[in-house]
């Protein structure tokens, strides 16, 4: 391809990918009059008022706190439970384990509505609706197939010889997992953790049905249910959206290679 043509095509793809969101970020810095101006004003007035009122009027900090707790706890527990399962799936040979792998694959493709009603009823029976444990345990269950698949992909690539030697020397399986597999697979674990965190941070459907009390809602629910039927408070909404997205964009920019690898482990191979 001719260099100039290629450069233009790549520039077009990058602009297409970034411009719409950049437009929304700019909106968060505009003055109220600029927001609805026709023709649109591109350069914002760098007015920070919308961030302030997003925090003071719309309780943005509480949503951030809820999202951080829910996504953080989901990630930690999913990776711990997922690592155990992935270890067994890559180190033991059994028809049942293979069947389990296929079940996990199917489960990860279920539409949420197929399980939503009964999940709501289970959490209701436990008294866990509108609570961190309720949403976190639901998220853990749904992110496990993803975590197990990615971790299994990484575990498989580790040399088995070191572990075998340790087992022969009298090391137990849990010790082998803790002392040998986990340290060696740290990059893979980190990748799986990033992807589970992004999943839990962005999840909306279950957060919507499980967290009905505004004090416990996560950022996606807060942003989706932003008050204002007829005149939307676009400035505050854009400010909240920017804050909700910033950590994810930072993760993507820093860990692009890992994410790509993890996604292809989770998608192409499972």
């Amino acid at each position: 391809m001719r260099p100039l043509l290629r450069f233009l095509a790549i520039a077009a793809v990058v602009v297409y990918s970034l411009l719409p969101f950049l437009w929304f970020v700019l909106a968060s810095w505009k003055s109220p009059a600029q927001l609805t101006a026709i023709p649109p004003e591109i350069v914002p007035a760098f007015h920070w008022g919308f961030y302030r009122s997003a925090v003071t009027t719309y309780g943005l900090l509480a949503y951030i706190r809820n999202s951080a707790i829910v996504a953080g706890a989901t990630t930690a527990v999913s990776i711990a439970i997922g690592a155990l399962a992935a270890y067994a799936l890559t180190r033991f040979r059994s028809t049942w384990l293979r069947f389990y792998l296929v079940v996990l694959l199917c489960v990860s493709m279920f539409p949420q509505i197929a399980v939503a009603g009964p999940v709501w009823r289970i959490l209701d029976a436990l008294g866990w609706l509108n609570s961190y444990p309720g949403i976190v345990i639901a998220y853990i269950s749904f992110s496990l197939p993803l975590a197990i698949w990615i971790l299994a992909t990484f575990f498989k690539e580790l040399p088995y010889e070191i572990e075998e030697a340790a087992l022969i020397d009298g090391c137990t399986r849990p010790q082998a997992l803790k002392r040998i597999v986990l340290p060696l697979a740290a990059p893979g674990i980190f990748t799986a953790a990033i992807l589970v965190f992004i999943y839990a941070w962005n999840e909306f459907f279950f957060a919507l049905i499980i967290l009905t009390s505004p004090a416990l809602q996560t950022l996606p629910v807060g942003i989706a249910l932003f008050p204002g039927e007829y005149t939307m408070p676009w400035g505050e909404l854009a400010a909240a959206s920017t804050i909700a997205t910033l950590p994810l964009i930072a993760l993507t920019l820093f860990f692009q290679r890992r994410i790509v690898r993890g996604l292809s482990a989770g998608a192409v191979k499972g």
Binding site: P111, Q112, L144, I223, L251
Partner: protein, 296 residues
């Protein structure tokens, strides 16, 4: 059970318990509930076993049939477009140039943005009075401005567009992985034979990347079948049910109207569709997955 199997059991048990309780059991329970008439707002009616009545109602419910059509159009259009756009992106990102890592990260940004955020973003851009969309189309001629999300013909297109923007990069990643497996020697040989760029694409790239394309298509089909966030934020299924996709309709029936039995029948219907797609997916990649998944 062999000794090693018993050992493995302890490792997988916690995950089996959670997946069983929150995924497998709920599916079976949804199936059971779909044979009952249960209305949350009318608890005095009790839970009455009605056999296949919910499914009979579903098959004659014009809103449900319309919802199925809306979903199929959405899935077909968005999955196909995503694979096309993804192929274009993958071909570009497979070239070697400076800052390729940055370009790849930039393309991934829409994927990382929460769907709820990108949905609000598109609502702002599609606004009927001051949206960028209208300004780009009509400039200052505000009298010609459209309200895409309030127009039954434009709203489905707007939602498809928003989905394509957000998820093409995912398709691109899968296709890119396929492109990277094509050996350079084939292109060199084609160069020796004097092939044009188009011939190289048509005769070398396309046939060899076909499995990855199919995989991306299937993966996007399965995923776009689950569309919910976009519809919830952008249109609430409207205008006039023009974007009332199945997953949103099921949500409305169960959680807004409390029609547990009928909603469960919708849920089971959606589940069956996605199960068929999952089987296709496993058939497509299954053999290799099982090989690789097997222990040493």
């Amino acid at each position: 059970m062999k000794r090693s199997e018993r050992a493995a059991l302890w490792f997988v048990l916690p995950s089996v318990f959670l997946v069983g309780l929150f995924s497998i059991y709920p599916i079976l329970e949804s199936a059971r509930l779909s044979f009952y008439r249960m209305i949350l707002m009318l608890p005095w009616l009790g839970d009455k076993y009605v056999g296949l009545e919910n499914y009979r109602d579903l098959a004659t419910d014009p809103v449900a049939l319309d919802s199925l059509a809306v979903t199929l159009v959405f899935v077909g259009a968005s999955a196909a477009l995503e694979v096309l756009v993804g192929l274009g992106m993958a071909l570009l990102l497979n070239e070697s140039f400076r800052c390729r890592g940055l370009a790849r990260a930039a393309v991934l940004v829409p994927w990382a943005i929460p769907t709820v955020v990108s949905s609000q973003m598109w609502r702002y851009i599609f606004n009927d009075r001051y949206g960028l969309f209208n300004f780009l189309l009509f400039g200052r001629a505000t009298e010609r401005y459209l309200a895409p999300l309030a127009d039954a013909r434009l709203a489905p297109a707007a939602i498809i567009f928003a989905d394509v923007w957000k998820t093409s990069s995912f398709a691109a990643l899968i296709i890119l992985a396929g492109l990277q497996t094509i050996p350079d020697e084939l292109y060199e040989a084609a160069d020796v034979d004097g092939a044009t760029a188009w011939q190289k694409f048509r005769r070398v790239t396309l046939p060899l990347v076909k499995p990855a394309l199919l995989l991306a298509l299937l993966f996007r089909t399965i995923d776009s079948f689950k569309v919910f966030d976009l519809v919830f934020v952008m249109t609430q299924g409207g205008p006039a049910d023009a974007t009332n996709v199945l997953q949103f309709y099921g949500y409305k029936k169960i959680f807004a109207e409390g029609m547990i039995g009928y909603g469960s029948a919708i849920a089971v219907g959606v589940f069956c569709f996605s199960l068929v797609l999952s089987f296709l997916y496993i058939r497509l990649i299954g053999a290799s997955v099982l090989e690789k998944g097997a222990a040493r």
